[in-house]
């Protein structure tokens, strides 16, 4: 039995906040170009080095460091598409990236699950990936799906199992953050082609995409880069994500960290454009801090000025941006810190305008899954979405005749106008679930109940049996070869 899915509710806002001036954006770009030309980026991949050599980049074979002249960078960057489509199993859920619309997804790559039934911590599994994809499939805030945790019960082919679990549990676009290496990517492409029907159709409507992490400072991961080249050849969108940590893998100053992260992303983007001009690529920097006392990775210190500056940098390059929201440093949901860390994220993101954003639902610096977290983060998302909506100021909403009718010292409860609008004027979030005879329920309890209800009642259309059999066959072959 399949069930209805509420319509998608992306953030829509024509309002824009800028944290960086035109001059600052130019200065940051100039810094990136200097890093690329003078310091270079290490590509430990013969395949990548050959492509750079063929296009006239300066390649040091011994150190594997590539240096890029500014004109080569600018020429390659000119072919990056500003927008593209992230297609879904259900075409009505295709995301057509565009200005003024921001699509969110859930968080990904968690490793520890707090079991929904027992409350005990355990390693995450493929079943967790499938269950959370189904929850996110239901949520109108989730435009696309990340495998939320690692399928640790599936060994070396876990990234492919994560895709399998997601594709079977959602009709939305799926974006992996773990498929690494040419061989794994070829299997993923085979699976995606089965679902799409043909390679041509996959290129036209890519039903999945991939995020590849660079390694700060200025290092690319061989499997990551070679996998990205496989996907680029097939026209599947790839994003490069840099996670510079202030003080350890990046300068302890934000501008330097951003320039460093940008150089990593741009170097990889240039590679893909040289190899396959016009390949859809998105840009993402998720900066973090190292605690100077312990080295602990911290996502949410008190001072996070210009948190969404990387979005502006992406747009300055003419690239779509994957923004970074959520993933509190708090150990568990429902605490003051869990909300305080992330509450402003979706609001700021909506004002700066990344095309896509991760990710709702993990705690402990995006490593731990409590299923109810995604519902709590969704509530924050909806607060931001409403906050960004336009106010309707019109004769009907000014209600001057109603005000005149009631006059001084009266009340509005018995007005037809009130009757029409009051029921929708106060939108209920998790915090205003009534408990008889009055008063409101504990929002955490409500969130848990919603997870349970979605898991019990929301089921997506299964993949056609012939296609499912083919996916299973490909997965088994991958397990034999790579497992």
């Amino acid at each position: 039995m399949t069930s209805e899915r509420p319509p998608l509710e992306p953030l829509r806002s024509s309002r824009r906040v800028r944290f960086l001036s035109d001059q600052q954006l130019d200065d940051l770009r100039a810094a990136t170009l200097r890093i690329l030309e003078e310091v270079g980026v290490k590509f430990p991949s013969d395949r990548a080095l050959r492509i750079f050599e063929e296009h006239g980049a300066s390649v040091d074979r011994e150190t594997q460091i590539v240096r890029l002249a500014p004109d080569l960078v600018m020429r390659a960057m000119a072919t990056v598409p500003r927008y593209f489509t992230m297609a879904a199993r259900d075409p009505s859920l295709d995301l057509v990236l565009q200005d003024g619309v921001t699509w969110f997804t859930n968080d990904g790559c968690g490793v520890e699950t707090i079991d929904f039934e027992t409350g005990l911590a355990r390693p995450s599994t493929k079943a967790d990936v499938a269950a959370m994809a189904r929850v996110a499939d239901y949520l109108p805030s989730s435009g696309f799906i990340w495998p939320m945790v690692s399928a640790q019960d599936k060994g070396r082919t876990s990234p492919l199992h994560e895709m399998d679990a997601c594709w079977g549990s959602t009709m939305k676009h799926v974006q992996s953050e773990t498929i690494m290496g040419a061989a794994h990517c070829r299997y993923a492409l085979e699976m995606a082609t089965v679902l799409a029907g043909s390679r041509e159709e996959l290129r036209r409507r890519p039903n999945f995409s991939l995020v590849v992490c660079t390694i700060a400072p200025l290092l690319q991961d061989q499997p990551g880069i070679e996998g990205a080249l496989e996907l680029a050849a097939a026209g599947v969108p790839v994003g490069f994500l840099s996670m510079p940590t202030l003080g350890t893998t990046a300068p302890a100053t934000m501008a330097g960290a951003l320039a460093l992260g940008d150089a990593e992303i741009i170097s990889a983007t240039v590679l893909l454009q040289l190899a396959h001009p016009g390949t859809p690529v998105f840009h993402s920097i998720m900066q973090a801090w190292a605690d100077p006392r312990t080295g602990t990775y911290v996502g949410y210190p008190l001072d996070q000025r210009a948190r969404y500056a990387p979005v502006e940098m992406a747009h300055h390059w003419g690239m779509p941006s994957l923004g970074a929201c959520y993933g509190t440093d708090a150990q568990r949901p429902g605490t003051w810190q869990a909300a305080a860390d992330v509450a402003l994220d979706p609001f700021w993101a909506g004002l700066v305008g990344p095309e896509i954003v991760t990710g709702m639902g993990l705690v402990k610096t995006y490593t731990r899954l409590h299923a109810e977290s995604i519902i709590l983060d969704n509530d924050l998302y909806q607060r931001a979405r409403y906050a960004l909506l336009d106010l309707d100021v019109s004769p009907e909403t000014l209600a001057l005749d109603v005000i005149a009718n009631v006059g001084p010292a009266g009340h509005f409860l018995a007005e037809q106008h009130t009757r029409k609008y009051m029921r929708h004027a106060m939108v209920r979030g998790l915090t205003h679930e009534l408990t008889p005879p009055s008063g409101y329920r504990d929002p955490i309890e409500v969130a848990r109940e919603r997870v349970r209800t979605i898991l019990e009642t929301h089921h997506v259309e299964p993949i056609e049996p012939a296609k499912q059999a083919e996916l299973t066959r490909i997965l088994a072959a991958a397990d034999r070869e790579l497992g």
Binding site: S150, T178, G247, T248, T249, D291, R293, T294
Partner: protein, 217 residues
């Protein structure tokens, strides 16, 4: 004269000046100061001072890192003479450390190595992308007390289990403690693969290493 030299040595560590620390070590050798004295009366007090300031919250990780680097520069110059004279530094234990095969992330591993070195452990850093068997070989070669295995990726973390197995296969399990770390690692994971310990960060790894070897802080 020697007292002044020791004071300068101490200060070179506190200031994190590897160049100065090295120059002073050469000066010690040239003027006949015993290398063991130079280390224990000159440089080690500097490291102790930095450690105390760190514990008090007056110094931070970069201070520790620069102090450790200065210490290393001095010891490298003094070590040949130290060995020739038959002397030996006191160490808290020997640690073999590296990032697992398939993974080239190293900052976390480097911080752990640095903190352990500052706490008096002898570090044998195998670098990144290290095969499981290599951990076992090196542990046997240097008679390690602890093997530390780092992994940043969910896809490479499974390799930490292989190191535990390699240590067992090499017949070293009874005398080597195995510790794991990295973003995806947890205490539960350490327990599952039969490792002896896990710590959240470099600072906590010192307490863990001491506890595993029965050393009081």
């Amino acid at each position: 004269m020697t007292a002044e030299l020791f004071t300068a040595m101490r200060q070179s560590i506190v200031d994190g000046e590897a160049g100065a620390a090295g120059d002073l070590a050469r000066q010690a050798l040239a003027t006949g100061v015993s290398p063991l004295d130079a280390i224990e009366r000159g440089y080690v007090p500097g490291l102790t001072a930095v450690g105390e300031a760190f514990s008090a919250g007056d110094m931070f990780l970069p201070d520790m890192m620069l102090a450790a680097r200065a210490m290393k520069a001095a010891v490298e110059i003094l070590e040949p003479a130290l060995k020739a004279s038959g002397g030996q530094r006191q160490i808290a234990g020997r640690v073999v450390i590296g990032t697992i095969k398939g993974d080239i992330h190293e900052i976390g591993k480097n911080m752990v190595a640095m903190m352990l070195a500052s706490a008096g452990f002898e570090i044998h850093d195998l670098g990144v992308d290290v095969p499981a068997e290599r951990f076992a070989e090196k542990a046997a070669e240097v008679d390690a007390d602890i093997v530390g295995v780092s992994a940043l990726l969910t896809t490479t973390m499974a390799g930490q289990r292989n190191v535990v197995q390699a240590i067992v296969a090499a017949g070293l399990r009874s005398r080597v403690k195995i510790i794991v770390g990295g973003a995806p690692a947890t205490q539960g994971w350490a327990d599952e693969i039969g490792a002896d310990g896990y710590s959240e960060d470099g600072v906590a790894s010192v307490a863990l290493a001491r506890q595993l070897l029965g050393i009081s802080a």
